[in-house]
């Protein structure tokens, strides 16, 4: 089999993994070596589905001893061709693609061959060769194989920028049902280990000059949404726990695309699945950048996100007592709660406010999305021209996304499509 054929098969097999981010690391180029990491991450291209290509995202092999129902590479799937790279083939592809500025680095995952430790060792071998022999300084993200020896996880962490152990499904029950070979505890334990190791290595870095760096870009995880029947509330609660207790950098959500051998729930992978994924990412953004708690976004009584309205606007409509807010007076934290105002705009408002009160025209020019914000704000004590009622029911009707917009064109927030650089690149 030619390298091209292998590459096609092992790319096809890896593409359902959502993450492609190359952000979070500032690794410097090694002396005489090639490559460094750019903190905000860089997108090198966009596929026909509009997702960012930042890393060479491939499987080491798509052979697998497991039989997970949702996975295209499961043992019982006879429809796919099986193949495997050698470590040298991967190393050559990474270096040659990197020199030509096709990629930021490598994202290497794998099916399970022989046993978990052997598989993990193969991934480490690739990372080690790149770093030590080739003195490669570009971004490397590898999968932590659940259940592999903690020593291997720690060793890998010293070579790569980011590691991810996929939690796969929101609950233990679903995991038992769809991925009988995998155990929840085998995922959670290495996550904890990574969190502890990272903390102790960075404490060392404070004390010693040449302390080794451990996973500078931290850890992430991914779960499949829509293959099982969990409500959004339990998903958001899980993410909140990952961000808080595991110091996770990102949780990725993947709307289930039916490739499996079980009867997928109705609508899985369709436009509604995509919309749900999008709403989950919006809620996730609120947790990470807007200082929301999961219990503010959803409750056990109303456990699912409204598909017609974004979660921040949903919160604003449920909490009318905070509104309308006077733009020239409220704190940064409160500015962030206003629909139509994001992190960048809120920072701009805070900075510009020092020079005098702002009016609606100025806000518009500074990037506030008036379409939503106008129902929630006052400038110098006055409402936006033409706004007569701040009544919640009345507002809900006005704020519902137009049906077309809610289907296909609203993925701006979605899975690393925009990397940090572009998002935050606006500040001087």
């Amino acid at each position: 089999m030619t390298t091209l054929e292998k590459l096609q098969i092992l790319t096809d097999a890896a593409k359902y993994d959502v993450s492609c981010s190359s952000s979070g690391s500032e690794r410097k180029a090694q002396k005489g070596g090639m490559g460094n990491a750019a903190l905000p991450g860089i997108c090198h291209s966009f596929t026909q589905d509009g997702r960012c290509i930042s890393l060479l995202k491939i499987l080491f092999t798509n052979q697998c001893i497991y039989d997970c129902a949702y996975c295209i590479n499961r043992r019982s799937n006879d429809a796919v061709k099986r193949t495997a790279f050698t470590p040298e083939e991967v190393v050559d592809l990474v270096l040659q693609f990197y020199r030509r500025n096709y990629i930021e680095g490598l994202f290497l995952s794998s099916g399970i061959i022989r046993d978990v430790n052997y598989t993990m060792e193969q991934l480490i071998e690739v990372a080690k060769t790149l770093r030590e022999r080739e003195r490669f300084g570009g971004y490397i993200h590898i999968k932590g194989i659940p259940g592999s020896d903690p020593k291997l996880i720690e060793r890998a962490g010293l070579y790569v920028d980011r590691m991810s152990i996929n939690v796969e499904l929101p609950t233990t029950r679903s995991l038992r049902l769809l991925a009988p070979d995998k155990k929840r505890i085998d995922m959670i334990e290495p996550m904890k280990l990574i969190r502890e190791k990272k903390a102790s290595y960075s404490a060392d870095a404070g004390r010693f000059k040449h302390a080794p760096e451990f996973l500078p870009a931290g850890q992430t995880t991914q779960l499949i949404v829509g293959a099982t029947d969990e409500a959004d509330y339990s998903i958001i609660k899980l993410s909140e726990a990952f961000y808080g207790r595991m110091a996770m950098k990102r949780v990725y959500y993947s709307s289930y695309v039916p490739v499996g051998n079980f009867l997928a729930p109705i609508g899985a992978g369709g436009p509604m699945g995509m919309l749900r994924e999008h709403r989950l990412y919006q809620a996730d953004w609120l947790l990470r950048f807007y200082d929301f708690r999961a219990d503010e976004i959803l409750t056990p009584e109303s456990p699912n996100l409204d598909m017609a309205i974004d979660p921040k606007t949903q919160w604003a409509l449920r909490n009318r007592s905070f509104f309308p807010m006077e733009i020239n007076r409220v704190s940064f934290k409160m500015l962030l709660r206003i629909p139509g105002i994001g992190n960048v705009t809120a920072r701009r408002i805070m900075a510009a406010r020092r020079f005098g009160p702002l009016d609606f025209d100025m806000l518009k020019k500074m990037g506030v999305v008036m379409k939503r914000a106008k129902y929630f704000i006052l400038c110098k004590g006055k409402p936006y021209p033409g706004i007569v009622s701040f009544d919640a029911e009345h507002l809900r009707q006005r704020l519902i996304d137009a049906p077309k917009a809610s289907q296909l064109s609203i993925f701006d927030l979605y899975s690393g499509g925009i990397q940090g650089g572009e998002r935050n690149g606006l500040s001087l």
């Binding site: 693609f97 100025m362 499509g417």
Partner: protein, 254 residues
């Protein structure tokens, strides 16, 4: 009064120097590029000589009052190559000295916001090009990249690639402006370069190109195709020198 300068950054600073000394009402003063100037018999005009000493005085004053951030704002905005840059710069400085320290954050001021928008367009495109630039390996091992950015990005892209590809010899060629950055693993030089015909690729170049094309095509999820999203993230004007083929349309490499 219309003041005319030679289009260089130093020229613009020299112009600003003269305009501040002339003390005419702000609305009546414009600073324009001489080569594009269309004389209007109702408006008097005056050519400003580019003067390194005066330009430096203005530059130092900008740094003193508004810090390195302020200076970065005016230099980066210059690279947007906007025809009105001179006038925008003058108005920005008029307002900024009035506002005082921290004026670069006063985005509620029109003159500040205008320059800031140019700054933003340039930095955004720089970030995009750090990803979209594609090198090809030539017969002699040199990496060569051609690009035609909307703004004059070459000087802003260089530091990224000297750090990243520090052990490589490369050329980034802006064929729209006929300028190129040459890097010999040690120093960078930016100088004029006409378009290069018939570059000779290394023996391996075509096979790595087809590997990349194969990778690119395999990475898309068929059931989630969205041309619109793709074009939002990567507008068509950037496709010309990509090795991959975003919509199976011919580019210069096919």
């Amino acid at each position: 009064m219309d003041y005319l300068y030679d289009g260089t950054f130093e020229g613009a600073l020299s112009g600003v120097y003269v305009m501040f000394y002339d003390r005419k009402p702000e609305e009546d003063q414009r600073l324009l590029e001489q080569q594009f100037y269309q004389a209007d018999c109702l408006i008097p005009s005056k050519v400003v000589e580019t003067d390194a000493v005066r330009a430096e005085k203005v530059a130092r004053s900008i740094i003193k009052h508004f810090g390195v951030r302020g200076f970065r704002l005016v230099t980066t905005a210059y690279l947007a190559e906007n025809k009105e840059y001179g006038t925008h710069l003058f108005r920005f400085l008029k307002h900024a000295y009035r506002i005082g320290e921290g004026a670069v954050d006063c985005l509620s001021d029109d003159a500040v916001l205008t320059l800031y928008k140019h700054y933003n367009s340039v930095t955004r495109e720089v970030h995009r090009f750090l990803g979209f630039v594609r090198f090809s390996e030539l017969e002699n091992g040199v990496l060569y990249a051609q690009c035609e950015p909307t703004y004059n990005l070459l000087s802003l892209m260089v530091p990224h690639f000297t750090e990243r590809l520090g052990n490589q010899t490369w050329v980034i060629h802006d064929t729209k402006r006929r300028m190129a950055a040459f890097f010999d693993q040690n120093t960078v030089e930016i100088k004029p370069l006409e378009s290069v015909d018939g570059i000779r690729l290394s023996e391996w170049e075509t096979s790595y190109r087809s590997l990349w094309q194969g990778y690119y095509d395999s990475a898309a999820i068929e059931t989630r195709k969205s041309d619109k999203r793709q074009r939002q993230m990567m507008p068509k004007k950037y496709w010309k020198f990509l090795i991959e083929n975003p919509q199976n349309q011919p580019n210069v490499y096919k």
